[in-house]
Symmetry: C2
DNA sequence: TTGAAAGCGCTAACAC
DNA sequence: GTGTTAGCGCTTTCAA
């Protein structure tokens, strides 16, 4: 068996409660005793059992992080940042992938809820109704989704989408397509609304979707894009954009000569691609850090904390996949 | 406070132990009682507290997964697979990123050890000596590193490296470089050994490194590669290869016309790159699943389980970044 | 400043 | 088949 508080107590000739205090309320214990206890603990290799501690304190010092797809390059930087920030605050994080499945997402939240102080829901696929019911079990912070009454971190794609449409119309494009994402995606809806209003009067907007948020989804959409006769395309994310460019190439269309393509995420594959992908930057790392801090703040204050809404800016990065419309 | 076993017991008119059995040993309880208890539990929204259960059973049903860098595209597929496999076995997983820092890695293992039944160490940066000491605290399975007496999952990169060198020499390359990875990387050493033996007699092998395992590391190495006068390069991973190709382009060298470049990982950026990257496939998802299964097997058997060594095959995928040497 | 005792949610002998 | 009891490792009153 591992070394417990009791071993330390016996070895250092004090009561267990004194050992406990040495770790959780050091100022309440005599300096001499404290150093002795600490020395013994060190010698024995004692490490407090956080799960046992959680049983009495009600604080697990764990967080849950639920994402739709770990392998989607959008998430790893967010996971990395969240996890680093959590560790900074002395928290560990469970990471779970829902495979884009709402039922699994719910099951995960429920089994995790007792083991964590809060859950970070990233681009959830669950309905708002279910989320609102579940929040009674465990505090949430939601990333990339607007849920009434819940603390939320939003990356304002609308901003970037508007800039993208303006960029395209500025280059002379008069017929532009929007490749939407999965149904229920807040990001997709935001892009739709922003693109519609930005295009209004300047260009015709053709909405194509829903599309699988993957390279394959983009490749699959190439035919429809060509058929629609647009010269510019704003895609749900970089993967879709990259897939589309590939699909267009197979159809004999070149980017940016024949069509201009814009993605969303500023992911590594997009930066490395030829042509380098023009894209909308998403502050994923900042969102991860902020989500953790908001979640921890909510945990600290208990349920009656006022929900916060953090809006992070996004922006258009023009690279090589967009150019002037051909005469 | 959340609903506990006691609430369910009171509500259904049985003792807590009966409720406990209903969940952990259903066959020991009368069918009628069981259904009643289950119904009450359902109605109350009762969920067993796994942490509390762990206190008595000694099984947390949690696993730790420690990687050097979540954002490195090599890891997400492994994390995703491991996590999915764990869930299949009713386990949750803590994911932690060490930022390539051995000290942090050790600290993470130690703080996590009490909360998990085992730890998956992926491409650890810790010295074997430290790992061997730590294993007393918690069962390990190591991925991509050979540690004596520890269960290990290896992706046999030597195999792929040999194939890569043969491929290059077959194309007429007589001077080939190996861009090594971080010091202490087992993968890097394996590649070195395999490349050396495969090149022997057929080509001269120039070893350049260590290199940062990132795009930047590859770009930074471009000058040295050109200076070395090689015509073919095997890189530590895809990111380095991609960075190198970019760096070479800046130096006026084109791939595969002037130089052939091979990566390792078969990552998404490599597949999307132009030229498509020739690379060594790493069965990361399979490794993740297998590591979880081996770890759980070890956990089940206790400390006296014989260490296993799983070797997964790797292979060369020839795409567009390699070609015949120029006359 | 320290000790004693109760209890967090649950399981596991053991008894009935 | 079910209840009783003790206890997992730790914190937290309450006394001393």
């Amino acid at each position: 068996m591992a070394v417990t508080i009791r071993d330390v107590a016996r070895e250092s000739g004090v009561h267990v409660s004194t050992v406990s205090r040495t770790f959780s309320a050091p100022h309440l214990v005599n300096a001499e005793t404290r150093t002795r206890v600490l020395a013994v603990a060190e010698g024995l290799g004692y490490r407090p059992n956080r799960a046992a501690r959680a049983l009495t304190t009600g604080r697990t010092h764990n967080l849950g992080l639920i994402v739709a797809d770990i392998a989607n390059p959008f998430f790893p930087p967010l996971i990395k940042a969240a996890q680093a920030q959590a560790r900074e605050r002395d928290y560990h994080v469970f990471v779970a992938d829902t495979d884009e499945d709402p039922l699994l997402e719910q099951e995960l939240i429920e089994t995790l809820s007792k083991q964590v102080d809060g859950v970070l829901l990233c681009s959830p696929r669950l309905s708002n109704r279910v989320i609102e019911r579940l929040r009674a079990q465990v505090p949430f912070v939601v990333v990339n989704r607007r849920v009434k009454g819940l603390t939320t971190v939003l990356m304002d794609v609308g901003q970037g989408a508007r800039a993208a449409i303006e960029h395209l119309t500025g280059l002379g494009h008069r017929r532009v397509a929007l490749l939407t994402g999965p149904p229920g995606s807040w990001t997709s809806e935001e892009m739709h609304a922003a693109a519609t209003s930005a295009a209004s009067g300047l260009a015709e907007l053709v909405v194509l979707g829903p599309n699988e948020p993957t390279v394959r989804g983009g490749t699959a959409a190439a035919g429809a894009v060509v058929a629609s006769g647009v010269t510019g395309v704003l895609c749900y994310n970089d993967l879709v954009a990259l897939g589309l460019i590939e699909g267009l190439r197979d159809l004999g269309r070149s980017v940016p000569d024949d069509l201009s393509v814009v993605g969303v995420d500023d992911s590594l594959p997009g930066r490395l691609n030829r042509p380098k992908l023009s894209t909308i930057t998403m502050p994923t790392a900042a969102a991860g850090r902020m989500a953790v801090d908001l979640l921890l703040a909510a945990v600290g204050q208990g349920e009656d904390a006022a929900p916060t809404l953090a809006r992070l800016e996004t922006d258009l990065v023009v690279r090589e996949s967009t150019g002037p419309v051909r005469p």
